[in-house]
Symmetry: C2
Subunit: 466 residues, 2 copies
């Protein structure tokens, strides 16, 4: 029997497709940046099927690319070299839920996991823009970030246990729901953020939390990012760590939103060079609003902030978030932009922004930096819009020069060239520029140990060994 | 030159000792359970020296055991087979401190790291009984737990970056202080909790937090552990997750403390079968005390708790903690005890305790279980005192039978046979009973990849391969 036939058998009658129309949407990254091809889409429904599939791939040295909701931004989920495509979408059962833990399969859509937690009167805090289509397996394989990292950590921090199928088909059942377990190497850590190159995550035990009962959102104006760093520290001290989001925005970003996005309004009377969108959550019994009011008043009194407004209603909270969440969209209306998903130590943000914005000007005079994002995590979306009236293509032709310069600066500040999106193929060839030879060697050694034939998502993160 | 001479050279003139008197305290585990021997104690002061030492060990296939403060409880730090002993004690510099991160060397004593954070008006939450002598390197190599896990996580969760010397002497510099960094495999995770078997941690970047400004401690009486699990959920909901410790104690434990530990008193008027010691912390601006008072009153009104007292002063808080912290000590006065450091999913605690206490009675009739500990983490110190008036030796002779039965029960509930102490040699041979063959295989494969000659802390966690 041919390998393809063996794989189809292993996946069961409903577990595969060779229909070009069905396969097509799985082959293109959603922005159209990466396009792949495959002879076969596999859609197993059980861990045993995934196990059988990988055993065959291992035996026959057949390359395979795991895919969740296909929302990745660095091409990690695309079969660029004609690999078999392994969609986990049919493995979407919630296996169990208890107050402390939700066990669900890799293909569970993030929003469904959030809803299952909510239905059990608990809270699963992972939240990011594509949550209606991205999957838990993809979230964990890329160690997703999102808007609640400041309070609840990255995806890695939300995992209690994992079920993983190894390259040779063996199943690692580590679906424990323990808060403490020091019995040897914590193997699950290896697969989180590995983008499917060391094993295929088939299920996860996720940490659940008490549902926040109160939520307050503030919009604060300040002179510079240094004031924002200080404000974050003060609010964390005043609330005892209840700040769940702290997003930085420059005036130019707000202006683009006001200009291009309907039904938006400047929340404050006077323009300010920088803004922070701050959210804090607490239990019902804590007077969160009073605490924030007091602290923000003090901050303005001290001259640290120049103005602030606290959203009084859910509708006003949503309106404030809309300003932040429309920032990428608003930039589109201004023409092309060159984007960077970078992080630096929080205290280095002001200086990084100062030098970074100056640097941009030296590379493309008139280019407009619109840096915004998760200041509380040190994660800045350092996006740069084409000069006003400039040529889009000419600007985009400078992407590599610009990125190299920005990434070098990030590296100078001890930062990361991929804060939350991962490496995939997009940043693969740059990785050795910013990691030491020893780190690269150990990564390659792990890959070789866990996937000796190089069948798992080859060419992602690491250049395949010959 | 002999290997020993080469190692001495690499460590520098002050970097070694062959003096039996100086070496002696390093060879005995503090309770006297494990005793080792060594031809040479190395005390390097720099990462470069550690690197040179390991390169020689790798080249000459010379086994070496890293040691921090020698406070481990499972024998992981003892050169049981005459290995070279590598003390990190002279690598104790604080390299840098900033609001978000403290970078210090592996030999830094935990209390010194706490103090350095405090001096910078920040907070490093890792806290455990031996904090005056245990070291950061040991804490991370064992993924230490302690009293603040509920709020701040285990040692693993407090690490931003690591510096590690590999078995062959190469240095992995991963001393980043980033909150988000998705650039390939998160290699630092592999070394945390690996008990020095995959590499030697020489420095760490640790997460710092806002200093808690308010602290409230309550002592609550309840009928059974199920009520304690429910109380924890309610307090987390009311405070929005500000509970930092939730410790369970049985009446027998309190009675032993009251009988044997001077200057202790029952905080409540009427005896109760079970108690919880609860601590919550917050920023200055949050009315933590009022919140807890309201919630505890409601809990008593609902019949969930039967009585409660909130410590009004630092002295009363200390007195309540003394009851909890004296529990092991008080047990000593009652004769021998068989101890287990186990965890189960939090919701399983009531049933585990019920079945576990019945099980103990079937193995040694009259044996007195005194289970207490970190209910909020699912971590119970399931300690069993000799029957009243029973023979200590006869009781201790049953250790293995008792432990096997308790560990089997723990496993039945999806629990862990080592919640926070690690494996070392003590639990090494039991590990394969409770881990799958696939997990053991992957652990062995990682060991082989990272330490091909098996020189790093051989025989700890895993049986050495022949």
């Amino acid at each position: 029997m041919s390998t393809l036939d063996r794989l189809k058998n292993a996946a069961g009658p409903k577990g595969f497709s060779e229909d070009a129309a069905e396969i097509a949407p799985h082959l293109v990254e959603w922005r159209g940046k990466y396009k792949g091809h495959t002879p076969l889409l596999l859609k197993p429904q059980t861990t045993a099927e995934v196990s059988a599939i990988l055993a065959i791939c291992h035996e026959t040295h057949t390359a395979i690319v795991p895919q969740g909701g296909n929302t990745g931004l660095v091409g990690g989920q695309i079969p660029l070299d004609g690999e078999i495509l392994l969609s986990l979408s049919r493995m979407n059962r919630i296996r169990s839920i208890e107050p402390g833990a939700l066990i669900c399969e890799a293909g569970t859509i993030l929003a469904d996991a959030q809803r299952a937690a909510d239905a059990a009167e608990r809270y699963f805090p992972l939240s990011l823009a594509p949550e209606g289509s991205c999957t838990i397996g993809g979230n964990l394989s890329t160690n997703a970030g999102g808007v609640n990292v400041l309070r609840y950590g990255n995806a890695r921090d939300l995992v209690l246990g994992l079920e993983v199928v190894l390259a040779d088909g063996r199943v690692l059942d580590m679906l424990r729901t323990l808060r403490k377990d020091n019995t040897g190497y914590d193997l699950k850590q290896m697969f989180i953020g590995a983008e499917g190159t060391l094993g295929v995550i088939t299920a996860a035990a996720l940490k659940l939390f008490a549902r926040p009962q109160a939520r307050e959102t503030a919009f604060v104006a300040m002179r510079d990012p240094a004031a924002a760093v200080e404000l974050l520290a003060r609010l964390q001290a005043a609330t005892g760590g209840l700040v769940s989001a702290f997003e930085l925005m420059p005036r130019i970003g707000l202006e683009l939103v006001l200009a291009h996005i309907p039904q938006t309004a400047d929340p404050l009377a006077t323009p300010s060079p920088w803004y922070a969108l701050v959210e804090a959550t607490s239990g019902a019994a804590m007077p969160l609003r009073e605490t924030l009011e007091t602290e923000l008043a003090r901050t303005i009194g001290d001259g640290l902030a120049t103005d602030a407004t606290l959203a009084g209603s859910d509708a006003r909270q949503a309106a404030l978030w809309r300003l932040r969440e429309s920032m990428s969209e608003a930039q589109k209306h201004e023409g092309a932009s060159i984007k960077h998903d970078v992080s630096v130590p929080i205290r280095a943000i002001p200086e990084f922004l100062k030098q970074g914005m100056a640097l941009v000007e030296t590379i493309v005079p008139g280019a407009r930096p619109v840096p915004f994002g998760h200041l509380g995590d040190g994660n800045i979306h350092f996006n740069i819009s084409v000069p006003k009236g400039g040529n889009n293509e000419a600007f985009l032709a400078r992407w590599e020069d610009m990125s190299r310069a920005v990434h070098d600066l990030v590296h100078h500040f001890g930062g990361s060239i991929s804060a939350e999106h991962g490496i995939g193929v997009m940043k693969r060839d740059d990785l050795p520029l910013y990691k030491s030879a020893a780190e690269m060697d150990v990564m390659r050694a792990l890959k070789k140990t866990m996937d000796p034939h190089g069948i798992l998502n080859p060419g992602k993160i690491l250049i395949p060994s010959p």
